[in-house]
């Protein structure tokens, strides 16, 4: 079938799209999220929506799902203009969405989650009919899931299937997936892709939102690129290269490799022995982790979320109780010490949750820069804070890290994600730093800031600091690491030297598939 690359003229040729956004504009108080975007999906196609963090992909999808109401523009379903005032309307048209952050009710069961809010007869819950329908869906797509399991008992991958089943259960014709592979191991992602192909064969259309170029090339028929709220282009996937897509995404040539110099690894600085801890639900989450971090090294922990990284991070910084094991720095065992004591030993951290765990949104930039340091001279003089010293330190930090803010007194809630991360970096990378634990340092940041963060980490490495990098982003891991440890179900399965590792071997381990020779 001849495909016209320009969706506008294609429309003029009277092709009726399944779903179409015409000059869609969505504004928020601080931000123009979608700027006159044209977008369409055909029946039986997989259409990728590609863009950086903050390009407007999710917002566009939420408009198509009826969660947001666009300020301007039309949405057309099968050619007819529709007014989606709530997700209910979208669901009734046959549009379903699987969000990046799942919207599941954790204490409830799979079937309760699926049934909640769906059309029903009568007042009383009737699970029998639902079970039958779900069983046949599971059979069709070869998905195995216990309908009565509580959500919190499921793995992240299984939870995603619940989200997909939620949409399929309502008889969806168009499925929107927002960054679905962010939480999957490479094998699980492959599985998802094959299921999507199956769905496409069954006549479903799929909008696949992602910022990963490889996925676009692998799975889609067409791809639409968004940049800073505007649509850059819509192309057939087979007609385009990754470099071209990257250029459209970012607007400039993207260097895929940050230059990492060869540095000789130093002495061991931080040693984890048999570190064991429980999750919030009381289950064993860390099973005797052994790691040694050296000076002048970046040791990465690769793995999909939910395999103990959170517990590892929190146990190391003193916020979660380790039920067994030791953490030794410079001969001192600091396991289960208070967070402040650990920080004073020269261990800093960048949390994965900037706003929730790294900053006080109501505080000014100046005040955030001394968070954790408020009891230390020179920021403190006797009983009081030394305000002039704090001010000087803030001025220096803002200049050195190029933090964009109208003034140091500005509340951090008004800063962008990238600048927030810079505030955290300025604070954590102060002198007398021995070990840095970076947890998802590039999450939610755009390419320019990611480059900056990576440069800072490599600089620290050059200065002799040992860095433990916990990341779900394999690109980042391959860019920065000297060694890579793969974590699965609370254990370190194997540690690679970076040059020995490739995505296949790491990917298998991330999914827990070990061969007989590895431990």
């Amino acid at each position: 079938m001849e495909l016209n690359n320009d969706p506008v003229t294609a429309h003029k040729k009277e092709e009726t799209y399944l779903l179409e956004a015409v000059q869609l504009t969505k504004r928020f108080p601080m931000v123009l999220a979608n700027d006159r975007v044209d977008f369409n999906v055909r029946r039986g196609e997989i259409h990728c929506l590609l863009g950086e963090n903050g390009a407007g992909k999710t917002t566009l999808a939420e408009c198509l799902y009826g969660f947001y109401k666009p300020e301007e523009g039309d949405i057309r379903f099968n050619g007819r203009c529709v007014n989606l005032s709530s997700p209910n309307d979208a669901i009734h048209l046959g549009i379903g969405m699987v969000h990046q952050h799942f919207v599941l009710v954790e204490p409830l069961s799979v079937i309760e989650n699926i049934v909640m809010g769906t059309d029903h007869k009568g007042v009383l819950l009737d699970f029998a009919a639902t079970e039958k329908k779900l069983d046949s869906l599971c059979l069709l797509y070869d998905v195995k899931i216990d309908l009565n399991a509580k959500i919190w008992q499921l793995s992240v991958g299984e939870q995603q299937w619940v989200e997909i089943l939620k949409a399929l259960y309502t008889g969806v014709k168009l499925l929107i997936l927002d960054e679905p592979t962010a939480v999957l191991t490479p094998p699980e992602a492959e599985r998802l892709f094959s299921v999507l192909q199956r769905m496409k064969d069954e006549g479903l259309s799929i909008i696949f939102i992602t910022h990963r170029l490889k996925e676009v090339m692998q799975v889609s028929d067409r791809v639409t690129v968004l940049q800073k709220g505007r649509k850059v282009a819509t192309v057939n996937t087979k007609d385009v290269t990754t470099e071209e897509l990257a250029y459209m995404m970012v607007g400039r040539k993207v260097v895929f490799q940050v230059n990492k110099d060869e540095i000789k690894r130093g002495d061991p600085i931080l040693q984890l022995t048999n570190l064991t801890a429980k999750s919030d639900m009381g289950l064993e989450a860390l099973h005797g982790v052994n790691l040694v971090i050296h000076q002048s090294e970046i040791l990465s922990v690769a793995g999909v979320a939910g395999n103990g990284q959170k517990e590892l991070f929190e146990a190391l910084i003193g916020v979660r109780k380790a039920t067994a094991g030791d953490v030794i720095i410079a001969g001192k065992n600091i396991v289960n010490n208070s967070p402040r004591k650990i920080a004073n030993e020269g261990i800093s951290h960048i949390p994965d949750d900037r706003i929730g765990a790294g900053l006080i949104a109501d505080f000014s930039v100046e005040e955030n820069l001394i968070l954790g340091l408020e009891e230390n001279p020179p920021y403190r003089k006797g009983l009081f804070l030394d305000k002039s010293h704090i001010k000087k330190y803030a001025e220096e930090s803002i200049a050195q890290y190029d933090i964009v803010t109208p003034s140091m007194k500005q509340r951090t809630s008004y800063l962008s994600g990238g600048n927030l991360q810079k505030v955290i970096l300025a604070r954590e990378l102060r002198q007398s730093l021995k070990v840095l634990i970076a947890n998802q340092p590039s999450r939610g940041l755009d390419v320019g800031v990611i480059e900056y963060v990576h440069k800072q980490l490599l600089e620290m490495r050059r200065n002799g600091i040992g860095i433990l990098l916990i990341s779900e982003d394999l690109d980042e891991i391959f860019t920065l690491s000297d060694r890579i440890a793969v974590m699965f179900r609370g254990k370190i399965l194997k540690i690679f030297e970076a040059r020995e590792a490739n995505i296949e071997s790491i990917g298998l381990l991330m999914a827990g598939i070990t061969d007989k020779e590895t431990q």
Partner: protein, 359 residues
């Protein structure tokens, strides 16, 4: 830096100082209007009632000094609230801790009764602060180590303290004035009186203590590491914990200080005004203190004018009742209306910003 790369968080936008002042003004006007309605329901003329209220509060020098006297405990209970609420520690124990302070002060008085004033008064103040602080600290400990909500433990505590006082002052209780028909202690001796500031007026040293406390709380909150940690904890307890702030210490110490401040209020009333320990030593000063603190925007200096406002209300209501027959209980109604109006007004100033994104 992409302009679209924006924060996601659920904190509401900050109210500008202009917005905050507007909210207070709107709240007070709304309170006056509703009060006018209530006064009409009491078969009196609102105009007359307000005039007498004002006269009673500010009509002459004596009235003004009495207003300041009435505002003294309110400043202290207001400060007690400010320091706790800034840490989002929702203590409602000011009323109970007020009485703990009175009890503590009286207890110290009974032990050291013979001493000259110069020694006795400071001891009494110390005793009051410590017992009040102890009560507050208990609530803090319960929260830190047993996760018992401060709201509930302090509310329950208020009842328990009330019964305890009732026991101490009961017919067979150890503190009852011998031979008296009323639930009260004997009058305290003059050497324990708080010095008066002026002749012919009831305003006493407690007022100066209250002003001093206001400045001390301001210093603590804004110029000490502890104050910084308290504010951080109140705003984002998770980040505070991650960055090494000892949250248990914050809760316990804050409640200690809060209880102590409320305790100072109680002993001020006992040794500065009433000279007897009685269950009606407080007509709800603890609860009014909460409203004072809210009206002041949880600002320790702002507590002073807010407390004076409510002190004026309480003082003026006596005159109002004499002249127009409106029950003094109106003050309680007005206090509550001010609080609700304030909440609503604050909300309305945010109203415009929030509505934009609704589908």
């Amino acid at each position: 830096m992409s302009p679209v790369d924006k924060l996601k968080f659920e904190k509401r936008d900050d109210i500008s100082p202009l917005g905050r002042t507007a909210a207070i003004v709107v709240a007070l006007i709304a309170a006056m209007l509703v009060s006018a309605i209530l006064i009409k329901l009491a078969n009196a003329s609102p105009l007359e009632a307000f005039i007498n209220l004002f006269k009673g509060a500010f009509g002459n020098k004596r009235a003004i000094l009495e207003t300041l006297t009435k505002s003294t405990p309110l400043i202290l209970t207001g400060l007690a609230t400010v320091i706790a609420f800034r840490g989002k520690i929702w203590s409602i124990g000011q009323e109970g801790q007020f009485f703990l302070g009175a009890i503590g002060g009286y207890w110290a008085y009974r032990i050291f009764e013979g001493l000259p004033a110069a020694a006795l008064v400071p001891i009494v103040i110390l005793g009051a602060f410590l017992v009040g602080a102890f009560g507050g600290m208990l609530a803090g400990l319960l929260k830190a180590y047993f996760n018992v909500d401060v709201i509930i433990s302090t509310v329950m505590g208020n009842y328990i303290i009330d019964y305890f006082l009732s026991f101490m002052l009961s017919g067979s209780g150890p503190w009852r004035e011998p031979g008296s028909y009323y639930q009260q202690t004997a009058e305290i001796t003059e050497n324990a009186y708080y010095p008066l500031l002026f002749a012919n007026a009831r305003i006493h040293m407690g007022f100066l203590i209250a002003i001093a406390c206001s400045m001390i709380v301001y210093l603590i909150l804004n110029h000490t590491p502890f104050g910084y940690q308290l504010r951080a904890f109140g705003s984002n307890p998770r980040a505070a914990k991650f960055k090494g702030i000892n949250t248990n210490k914050i809760i316990i110490l804050t409640m200690f200080i809060s209880g102590g401040l409320a305790g100072l209020a109680g002993t001020g009333e006992l040794f500065g005004v009433q000279y007897r320990l009685r269950p009606d030593l407080s007509p709800g000063y603890g609860y009014t203190g909460i409203i004072v603190a809210m009206l002041a925007g949880l600002n320790p200096i702002g507590v002073i004018p807010a407390a004076i406002l409510f002190g004026a209300l309480i003082n003026g209501s006596a005159q109002m009742r004499i002249a127009t027959g409106v029950p003094t209980a109106l003050t309680f109604a007005i206090q509550a209306i001010v609080l609700l109006s304030l909440l609503s007004a604050q909300v309305l100033t945010r109203f415009r910003v929030r509505r934009v994104d609704h589908a």
